[in-house]
């Protein structure tokens, strides 16, 4: 079995042609695969349908927009993408983020890897997402589209900011619920936190983001800022529907008592500019609906 190993870098040969899409002509745009969800949404935003991407079932549920064309091949889990399938799809470029650097040696056997850092502890991600968008546009010969998308997003956020009353002055928590007792907070080094700041809203969570691998926080931490409003990013875990309305501390929070809690549609937590835009739109709508509170 092992004696076949040396054929590692063997170029695509005739025998496989039956299973593979035809080799792209030189002028045709690059065929790109995305391991990172942020790269996936940016690609679609630039008008490029990737040939393959990861965890599309979850993406359609949790990130929702932009819509992923049916033609995109699902590569499986982000952490362990199906390299064999990716090899068969044979993209010209694989777009990842710094989270997936460890996959680089494997991916480079298939195609050149394009990596951007958008999320780093303690660093607001929005400027990094702008840079990543421009860099991706540069790489794919879509500089104009990339520039336009960056500008449009910035204009959109400014426009949305203007729709919020300037004097509301309330800080806002942006959280997602782990179960009916724990939440994850989005701080200034998250996309939601950074966009919140750009909307001119104070983030009630002063600490850094508690990301998925970090310990979740008990709901009582929300009581530290009594006059804050709360934005809960969907989806809600199964037990929340029953247990949260019975949660005495939750019900005692001023935000809950005064109906300053809003549930947002699902948004990609680790997204790029399209997610930033989606969050800005949903958050503004939710906050505008409760400013009287």
């Amino acid at each position: 079995m092992i004696h076949l190993l040396p054929s590692r870098r063997r170029v695509l040969a005739l025998g496989m042609a039956a299973m593979l899409p035809p080799i792209a002509a030189k002028a045709a745009p690059l065929r790109v695969a995305a391991i990172d969800w942020g790269m996936l949404e940016t690609l679609i935003a630039l008008g490029i349908a990737p040939v393959a991407a990861t965890e599309l079932i979850q993406f359609r549920k949790l990130a929702v927009e932009p819509e992923v064309p049916r033609s995109v091949t699902d590569l499986g889990l982000r952490g362990t993408p199906n390299y064999e399938l990716l090899r068969i799809v044979a993209p010209d470029l694989v777009a990842i983020s710094s989270f997936y650097e460890y996959q680089r040696p494997m991916l480079e056997r298939i195609a050149p890897v394009f990596a951007q850092t958008v999320y780093a502890p303690g660093v607001p991600p929005y400027p990094l997402a702008e840079a990543a968008t421009l860099a991706l546009g540069e790489k794919l010969g879509r500089q104009a589209e990339a520039k336009r998308y960056v500008d449009e997003t910035s204009v959109e956020i400014t426009r949305l900011r203007a729709t919020l009353p300037a004097d509301s002055g309330r800080p806002v928590f942006v959280i997602s619920l782990g179960d009916s007792r724990h939440f994850r907070a989005f701080g200034r080094d998250s996309m939601f936190g950074d966009v919140l700041r750009r909307l001119g809203v104070e983030n009630a969570w002063a600490d850094e983001t508690s990301y998925s691998a970090a310990a979740p926080v008990g709901l009582e931490a929300l009581a530290r800022v009594p006059d804050a409003s709360i934005l809960v990013v969907s989806p809600l875990p199964a037990d929340v529907g029953r247990a949260l309305p019975e949660n005495a501390l939750w019900n005692a929070l001023p935000a809950v008592r005064n109906s300053r809690v809003a549930l947002l549609e699902p948004i990609n937590h680790f997204g790029c500019l399209p997610s930033a835009r989606r969050f800005a739109r949903l958050a503004t709508a939710a906050l505008a609906g409760q400013t009287h509170g």
Partner: protein, 665 residues
Amino acid sequence: MVDRAMTERATAGRALSPIALWGLLAAVAALLFAWRISTQWPTAPAGDIDLDRIILFYSTLPRAVVAVLAGAVLGLSGLLLQRVLRNPLAEPSTLGISSGAQLAMTAASVYAPFLMERSQGTVAFAGGTAAVLLVLSLTWRRGLEPVSVVLAGMMVALTASAISAALILANGDYLFSLFIWGGGSLVQQDWGPPIALSTRLAVGAGAALLLLRPLTILGLDDASARSLGIARHTSRFLVIALAVWMATTVVAEVGVIGFVGLAAPALATLSGARSLGQKLLAAPLIGAILLWLTDGLVQLAAGAGGERIPTGAGAALLGGPVLLWLLPTLRLLEWPNLGTSGTSPRKAGRFIILLLLLLTLVAAVVALIVGRGPAGWSVAGGEMLADLAAWRAPRIGVAAAAGAMLAVAGVVIQRITGNPLASPEVLGVGTGAGAGLTAVLMVSATAGLDWQLAGSVFGSLAVLIAMLTIAARAKFGSERLLLAGIAMSALCSAVITATIAMGNSQSYVLLRWLSGSTSQATGADAWVALACLMLLTLPLFLAARWLDILPLGEDTARGLGLPIAGGRLTLIVLAAILTALAAMFVGPLSFVGLIAPHLARPIGFARARLHLAGAVLVGALLMIVSDWLSRMVAFPYELPVGLFASLLGGPYLVHLLAKGVPRHG
């Protein structure tokens, strides 16, 4: 009422009497609690929004009450199970009750959310009951012999958690849920859970008192119980149902808190509680103190961004060392050892080895050429095979080598200890490798692979030597060694969990290590793994005489002129390196090291060389097939390889047990 017996048995050479020790620990817990309250005491005059008061009343107070109650409930549940099964290792975790409850809750969340909305507790109880019934029915024919029960329990627990993990993995935000449920968080915002737990504790304690006489008799052997006219099965099942009901409430309300149910009754006995009445008082009390103190410390260590360690993991961090320290003085009911099953004649053994070799090769070839692609199933050949082999062959090579290494380590450890349940996984050697890896990563987040490997080897070696020292001091009692193994395993896992909870770059390295996948295997990895396997296993074949003789006991070995100390140390070092290497490649969660030596037993237990060869082949075969299935079943999604290793090997192992293989003293 407990003090006299306790002081009498207060172990020689230790100044502190157990009562004083537990009193002191309780005082520390109370002090931590008082300090916590003092920092939160409302300072503002009562207004209409007094959040200090709300946090104190709805969070701080119920949390302390839950810690005390959950600890007591688990202690009582563990004690009842241990008593009624006459098994010092029985408890909600080792019997698969917690994992069964967790699996039921996970499955319900995914497929029937309305069930979870209606009653989480009922779902958890159903899952826990199913798990324990499965364990009991599988081991019924062996007369519920403790080692078999725990073995079956561990297999059920392992499989259930693997399925839960796969379900979570395939359906959403796995890390978050994994952390809350896997770690057991005591965060409270309500008086609901304390009320639920206190009714369980009250009913449980009341029923236990009513059943005091039957329980005392059930603690004796069957014959005595029968002659005393107890309706054995009825009362047994009643008590088990009671214990399951209590334990699954804890799972439903706060998540899986392992270890307390195991440690509290053991610590009660070690602290001198002798009669059942004393134990019924001491075990819940000790459980309560243990969890309350742990929770106090966990909150003390918490930063603004959340708690660093889930309380469930913290309990193991605190209770593990105590249990390990006290263990040699624990007196356990000795049971006859699990039989060394019948050996087939030499020729038949050789034939089976050849057959296994053939099967392994066939499996490797199938894994290499059969696969799924965008167009469905396909059998690769020619150029296409050459191309795909570059991806498939390294995985097959790494999986086979890792499986074989774990199997060899298992054979060595089982033979050194003379214990059929000992294995790298059960004794915590695999998680020890993880603790060593953690230590290296803490010193330098960018440590290279060589340092990581060195750390893993050191960790597993340290754990293995500690285990064997404990075993030697206690003259190799089977249960005692396993108890120590579970404690050590829980301790090392807690270290890993706590590091993962820090959420930094080390966390991701550890998470990847923990999830164990052959996905990143390169050709070089495969060659290195196979070379290591050869290099480390060949000496064992040459030293097969040691392995033949060691299970017969030290005296025999010495009589035959074997250099005991040196020989044993060499074997231990080899087993530790093999385990650490395998864990580097496929993670610590496969249990192949337990299963493969067992499956290979019928081939030639009497002759170490045949046993080794058989185990190597079974281990490699299991991992090749598991790796292939993990890639095929949910294509293109790749599932954890450990899931299939336990799904394939577990049932067969349990079937061997259920067959009631004849025992030889």
